[in-house]
Amino acid sequence: MYWDREHETMSREQLRALQLERLQLTIERVYRNVPFYRQRFTEMGIKPSSVRSLEDLRRLPFTTKQDLRDNYPFGLFAVPMSDVVRVHASSGTTGKPTVVGYTRNDIYTWAELIARSLVCAGATKFDVVQNAYGYGLFTGGLGLHFGAERLGATVVPVSGGNTQRQLMLMQDFGTTILTCTPSYALYMAEEGQKMGLDFKKLPLKAGIFGAEPWSERMRRQLEEKLDLMALDIYGLSEIMGPGVAMECAEKQGMHIWEDHFIPEIIDPATGEVLPPGEEGELVITTITKEAFPLIRYRTRDITRLDPEPCACGRTHMRIKRITGRSDDMLIIRGVNVFPSQVESVLLEFGETEPHYLLVVDRKANLDNLEIWVEVAEHMFSDTVRKLEDLEHRLRERIESVLGISARVKLVEPNTIPRSEGKAKRVVDRRQI
């Protein structure tokens, strides 16, 4: 069962021809409409006409998150704002978020790709999709929502949180497909068990879990506890949002929708393209996006590309589970967190050389973030009230920058380990 048989099963030759045609159009458009790309290409002596084959892609420069930040908020948009019908945002490396835009066509394409992804999980218009991804600037909620509507399924836009209500709606509405982060799904499963809920008696059939890394161990737990088929979905807001790649029922990696995205795997240290099957950093070029096209965007996600044909009949390559990052980004409760965001807050508080540590733990399937801050002399006050007030103000500011709750813990100087002069910024104790 496919949503778009023509595109999902097209031959590799046809697919490559389509990719080249779309890549050339994209290069042409960014060269014409985005000063950043025109300048980059010119510096490297590249003209749109230089791209004659898919192999020529590797001659083009990478685009990084830093480039997005330098062009904050709308500098990389390739269409006038009057054509942008929506924006989303995700965490930037400092206080400012990373902003992305969509034209009406982009929203349509996104919905199409989510519909494809839902069908990978066996969804039809008869399904009830409980969408527990967060709605708002985060791409998860609205992304899944529009795709499920496109498919014609019944969407329950419950958003994240309020587990008791999630479980009530799941029973009362007869939810068949659950979409959320895998850790939240496990949390729901355990809360349900505590309430004496028998998931085997519910009509749940599939879960589409993403926005954070997970493992085969978690898949087994999710499938056993919730009595459904648990599938992985991949995406990042810079590229589009969820639905860039989706696992099929074969559970052997996520098909990356190559008629819209060209994936490459590079050595993160040298930038060199690696042969198929080798592990490295995933780089994606969008070839149909109008508002916010990206050329060779460095996702920082570490994975492998599997070019082998899949038993499901889809011809698009698969990416394997994300095994890590080539930067220090953390994903906490589905939200991207950079240690440098915490640093930017401490700098605001007058710290010139802040010493801090992000300690992440997972208790009862919920991620907890604790931020240790060494108390420098100028922050120190000898009254408890003032120190507690400092703790409180730091927490509020950090929470507003990160978009998730955190606990701030003041610690003594030299508590945080320093290695070779460079401080360690993250301790991740989660077992995924």
């Binding site: 002399e377 006050s381 009254t383 009230r385 120190l387 003041l410 610690v411 003594e412 100087p413 508590t415």
Partner: protein, 143 residues
């Protein structure tokens, strides 16, 4: 009329207080009075010592977060209502006490009470106007 107090930031974990006293002891510094204010996570250790400047330096060198704060030390007669009289004076002058702690002197029957208020000079003037004896730094360090 002001006494220099040394304050140290301490996490609530075992052995930290002992560490502070060891650093001071190794440097021949005597502790005259000590008080701890704490929360579930951290504590503030407040010390009156015989040589506050040197205490500040050696603790800082030992890696502690330290600050020096001016406080007032008054003598309170060791009898019922002794402290209440002092507090009433400060209250009348609308001076807010951030914290206080007391310690007994070896030689006399009077207790010493250490106060921290925002407006130190106003507090000193108000107390002196009522004839309450305020000890100088030297007197306290030499106790």
């Amino acid at each position: 009329m002001k006494v220099k107090q040394i304050s140290i930031f301490l996490e609530n974990k075992s052995g930290r207080l002992a560490q502070v006293t060891r650093v001071l002891g190794d440097n021949g510094i005597n502790i005259r009075a000590l008080a701890i204010a704490d929360t579930t996570d951290f504590g503030i250790l407040r010390l009156i010592v015989n040589d506050p400047d040197r205490a500040y330096r050696v603790l800082k060198e030992a890696g502690f977060t330290v600050s020096a704060t001016d406080v007032i030390a008054v003598e309170v007669v060791d009898e019922p209502g002794g402290l209440a009289g002092v507090l009433a004076v400060l209250q009348e002058a609308s001076l807010n006490i951030e914290y206080l702690y007391a310690f007994l002197q070896k030689a006399s029957r009077a207790a010493l009470v250490v106060f921290r208020v925002e407006q130190l000079d106003e507090a000193i003037a108000a107390l002196q106007a009522k004839g309450i004896r305020i000890l100088s730094g030297e007197e306290v360090y030499a106790l």
